[in-house]
Symmetry: C2
Subunit: 182 residues, 2 copies
């Protein structure tokens, strides 16, 4: 039995969205996230670790992925999962498009597919489908260089629900974006 | 080499605070957390898993514990750790005193020792001491039955920095308490 149905959808750019995770994906995530120039090395490492944990632990990891493949090569991805001890709240941990493919609408497409997947009920750690997602949270930094990121989330319908002062470092707050799904 | 210096301090109740984790502690945590009547079974399971992860992974787990032992039997504990990708922010994951020993000031004592430990610089995943904690976060529910918990955090100097509506479930918000250490 396949552990998760593969989500496949074509995109005007020619890319294909898939929900399965492949052994070559950790390296692809390192390339995609690194290409954006937005993240510290230790943050790139965290992004890669989530894919590795999904590969090693399967659904028990509770990390779910969507990859956008162009000519069988990943050029963007989203990573999300249910928040433990909540009923229907999800974290969107990562969403990134390779620098060479930004501005094509692929980020919006990945976000829409991720939300559709969460609403449809992803498999839980035991393989049984979870109830539909009610709310999605995204955390990001208040540093001005993230302004394009904020605008992307806002275009996708997310609003700032909380700000934690000096969370990442002195002068670097955490912004918590949220969106109710329905 | 011991992986973490044991913190030992006596308390008027006769209990001793220790920072080492023992193989019998998962069962002790189940007893302590279960005795409070505050938590769902799946939440008790999460509390126990954190101790198990510390025992199996050691410092790499990034979970730190303080136990209050009375006659060598744990009657309360705190669990905390550095928040990945932050400089000096910590989560206090759990703090609980066995129902039979509440009202003795042991919760306050555990909180003060936990803050002192975070300020002193706990060992990181590589064993080297982390910089002192700047900020501590505690998450809890908005459900009225948690009112004694809110009052405890407030007496310890924590204030509500954010509220995430319907986070745990419809009508059950997440409150994020924070305190700046110095």
């Amino acid at each position: 039995m396949s552990e998760q149905p593969t989500v496949t959808a074509s995109h005007p750019s020619g890319s294909i969205i898939r929900g399965s995770v492949q052994p070559t994906d950790p390296a692809a995530v390192r390339e995609i996230v690194g290409s954006t120039g937005f993240f510290h090395d230790f943050e790139v490492d965290v992004a890669v670790e989530l894919v590795q944990e999904r590969l090693s632990r399967g659904l028990a990891s509770e990390y779910h992925f969507l990859f956008a493949d162009l000519n069988a090569h990943p050029i963007g991805y989203a990573c999300f999962g249910p928040i433990p001890c909540t009923q229907g709240s999800f974290d969107l941990y990562w969403i990134a498009v390779h620098a060479a493919h930004q501005g094509s609408g692929l980020g919006r497409r990945l976000m829409a597919e991720a939300e559709r997947t969460m609403l449809a009920g992803v498999p839980g750690a035991d393989g049984r489908p979870l109830p539909p997602a009610r709310r999605v949270y995204i955390e990001t930094s208040s540093q001005p260089r993230y302004a394009p990121t904020w605008r992307f989330y806002e275009r996708c319908g997310y609003t700032i629900e909380a700000r934690l002062k000096d969370y990442y470092a002195a002068g670097d707050d955490k912004l918590i974006y949220a969106k109710a799904l329905s």
